[in-house]
Symmetry: C2
Subunit: 388 residues, 2 copies
C-alpha cells in the first residue's frame, strides 16, 4: 500500500468524474520510470532513443525528451509524421522499409524530418538507393541485425550483411549504422538469463558493426534494445544508443519478466462494476477485451493474470483478484482459486476499480486518449494516435 | 477460386493504391451476408436487430437497415450517440446499465432517441426507477436473462427475475421485455450442438417471458441471439426479435463454428511483404498484432489459423499459409507444418496480400476506417467509431 501515497486521495476522487472504461496514466510513476531508464543509459554512456509505439502520445514523448532522450523510435510512418509535427526531428522508423512506402518517407525528409529507415535485404536496399537517386534524396539507412532469431534482420555473421551494406553505400545512400532488437528477452525471467540475452544482443550488434568497419564501410551508429535487455545489460561496450518502449508504463508481462514491480505500473484501465453472478463468485465490470485488448501475454509466464490485475481506485492491487475472462464490453472479475462467496459485498454495483494490463502497448491502443493523473494538476486528456 | 469472380480484377488493382496495413470490406460479400441473415429472420417470423459492435460503422449499419433490420443493438453509449446522430432511433444498449451512466442515457432519450436499457439486478433497477422519477423520464428497461451461464443475466427460473421486474414496473419505468445472448454458442461446431444451444437460448428466454406474464407483468419483447444460434435455430416460437453481430463480416472463428465458409468472409487486412527469413520459411509482413488484434480465437478450435489466413490480393486463400506469429507491426507468415523452402519466390518483397482475421470485431477495432471494395464503385473510406 505504500506506493499509493504518492498520489493524494483528492486525485483519486477526481477519477469519479470519468466515464468508464478509461485509460489512466499515473504520471508520477511514469516520470519515475522515465528517470530510471534515462539515468541507467546515462551511466552506461549511451544515448537513449525511446520507442514511442508504446504510448503513441506526444505528451508522453515530451516527458521522455525532457528527461534526456536523443530522438525517438517509431513503428509506423504515421507516428513519424505525428511526432515530427510535434517538434521531434530525429526519428528512426524501425520497421523494414519497402519500395511502396518510400514516397511517404521522402515527403517527411523533404519537410525537414531527419528520418532514418532500416532494411535487411538487398531488394529493398536497391529500391531505396534507386528511389533516392531518382528523387535526389540521400536516405539514411540502418541495417537491421538479427541477434536472437525472433523476427527480422540479418545475422551478424552472414555474408548478406556486407552485401546489403555495399548496395546502400555504393548506391549513394548514407549507411547510418546497425540496429537490433532482442525481442526474445520477453521470454526470460531471471537476472542471469536477462543479462545473458542482453550481452547476446550487444555482442551480435557490435560484431555486425565491426564487420562493416573492417570492410571499409561506415557504421557510426550501433543501436540495440528492448526494455528487459536495456535494464539487464551489465555493460554496453561498442553500443552508441539504446531503444526501449514499454518501460515508460511497464505492465504485467514486464512484472513477470522481473524488471519492475506492480508499484511501477503507470497504465491502468478505470472500470465500473456493473453486475454479479454470486453463485460463481463473479463480478462483471465494463472493461472487456475492447478495453484491455485481447493480449494474454502472461498466460505462459510464471503468473497468469488473466486479462489483468484488479486494483482499488487508488491503484493498489487487490491481491488474488483478476479479470478471468473478457467479452467485448464485459470483463469477468474473479478470485484465483476458490470462488469468492462475498463477491457482491466486496465489489458492490457501481464500484470503481482499476485494472493493470498484461501489455501496455496493446491496451493503450484500444483508447483514443489517456487520462493523465498527476497530484499537482487536474486530470489531463492526452490524445493517442490510432491507425496507419 | 469461384467466389473471387464477384469482384472483377480492376477492383483488386485499385488496392495497389492503398497504404498498408488497411482493413478491407468486400462489399458484395457483406451484402450477401446481410441478405442471408435478414431472409432467415423474415422466414422465421421475427424482427432482426443487428449488433453494430462488430462494424461500429454507419455505412455498414445503413446497409443492414436498408435490408430490413428493425433498429440496432449497441455495446456502448458512444455507439448509441453516434448511430442516433446518423438517423437510427430504435437502439438497444445491451450492456447492464449502472447509475453513473444514467445521465448519458437520459440525454440521449431527451434528444429523441428511443434508447432501451437493460439490467439484471435489483440495485440497478432501483437506481433506474429512482433516477427516472427524479428527472421525469420513463426509461424502457429490458431484463437480461442468462440462458447459458457464460456471462451476465438472471436465470429464467430464478426468483430474482420477478423481483427485478417488479422494481422496474412498480417504480414507474417501462418493462419492455427480456433479452438473452447465448455467447457459449461459439464453443460448438456441429449442426446438432448449435441447434441445441439455439433451442436452449430460445426456450430459456421464452420461459422468462412466460413467468413475467403469468405474474401479471408486461413483456412485449422476447429478444435472443448470437450469430451461431441465429443461423442454427430450427424455430423461434415465442421470440419477437433476434440480435446478431459478427455475421455481417463473418470470420475464421465462425468458419470453425461451421456457420460460414471462407468465401463468406467480408473483412480482411491488406498487407505488404517487407522481409524474409528464408532459413525458417518465414515471410515478414506489415500486419502485426496492431492490425490483426491479439485475438487468437481459433487457437482452441478445430483449425488454428494463428493470427490469420493468408490470401492473395483477390481475396482467395493461399491454402496452408497463415500468420504464425505477430509482433506489434510485424506478422510472421509461414506454412503450416514443414517450412516452405521457396518462401522468397512465393511471396517476394513488396507482394500485397490479404489476411482473413480470427475475429472480425477485434480486428476491425484496430482501424480508424475501413476501405470498402465494391465492383461498381471506387474504393470508399468508411469511418469506424473508436473508444468510449
Amino acid at each position: 500500500m505504500s506506493s499509493i501515497h504518492q498520489v493524494p486521495p483528492r486525485s483519486w476522487q477526481t477519477l469519479q468524474s470519468l466515464e468508464t472504461p478509461a485509460a489512466i496514466i499515473d504520471v508520477p510513476r511514469m516520470r519515475r520510470n522515465i528517470q530510471r531508464m534515462q539515468s541507467r543509459m546515462d551511466n552506461l554512456g549511451v544515448r537513449f532513443r525511446p520507442h514511442v509505439k508504446t504510448s503513441k502520445c506526444v505528451d508522453v514523448a515530451r516527458a521522455q525528451m525532457q528527461a534526456g532522450a536523443s530522438g525517438i523510435t517509431v513503428s509506423t510512418l504515421k507516428e513519424a509524421a505525428c511526432f515530427f509535427e510535434a517538434g521531434v526531428t530525429d526519428i528512426l522508423y524501425a520497421v523494414a522499409m519497402v519500395e511502396r512506402k518510400l514516397p511517404a518517407a521522402l515527403a517527411l525528409r523533404r519537410r525537414g524530418c531527419d528520418l532514418k529507415i532500416v532494411t535487411d535485404c538487398v531488394t529493398s536496399a536497391r529500391a531505396i538507393a534507386a528511389f533516392g537517386a531518382q528523387f535526389g534524396e540521400t536516405f539514411e539507412v540502418w541495417i537491421e541485425v538479427d541477434t536472437d532469431g525472433h523476427r527480422s534482420g540479418i545475422r551478424p555473421d552472414a555474408p548478406a550483411l556486407l552485401e546489403v551494406a555495399r548496395v546502400i553505400h555504393d548506391g549513394g545512400a548514407t549507411l547510418g549504422g546497425v540496429m537490433t532488437h532482442a525481442g526474445s528477452s520477453y521470454d526470460f525471467d531471471t537476472p542471469d538469463a536477462l543479462a545473458a540475452i542482453a550481452e547476446q544482443e550487444r555482442a551480435g550488434c557490435v560484431l555486425a558493426a565491426t564487420r562493416l568497419r573492417d570492410a571499409g564501410l561506415p557504421c557510426p551508429v550501433v543501436s540495440v534494445g528492448s526494455t528487459p535487455t536495456a535494464l539487464a545489460a551489465v555493460h554496453l561496450d561498442g553500443v552508441t544508443e539504446v531503444r526501449a518502449g514499454v518501460y515508460v508504463f511497464f505492465d504485467l508481462v514486464m512484472h513477470n519478466v522481473g524488471v519492475c514491480t506492480t508499484d511501477d505500473l503507470a497504465l491502468s484501465v478505470l472500470t465500473t462494476v456493473i453486475g454479479h453472478q454470486p453463485d460463481k463468485g463473479w463480478a462483471i465490470v465494463d472493461a472487456g477485451w475492447m478495453a484491455m485488448s485481447r493480449d494474454r501475454g502472461t498466460q505462459k509466464q510464471k503468473h497468469d493474470f488473466g486479462y489483468g490485475q484488479v486494483c482499488r481506485i487508488d491503484g493498489s492491487p487487490v491481491a488474488g483478484y483478476r479479470l478471468e475472462g473478457a467479452n467485448q464490453e464485459h470483463g469477468i472479475l474473479a478470485r484465483e482459486g476458490d470462488p469468492d462467496d462475498n463477491i457482491v459485498g466486496r465489489f458492490p454495483i457501481g464500484t470503481l476499480l482499476r485494472v493493470m494490463p498484461n501489455h501496455a502497448c496493446a491496451t493503450g491502443a484500444q483508447f483514443p486518449e489517456y487520462h493523465a493523473l498527476d497530484p499537482e494538476r487536474d486530470i489531463a486528456v492526452w490524445p493517442r494516435l490510432h491507425g496507419w
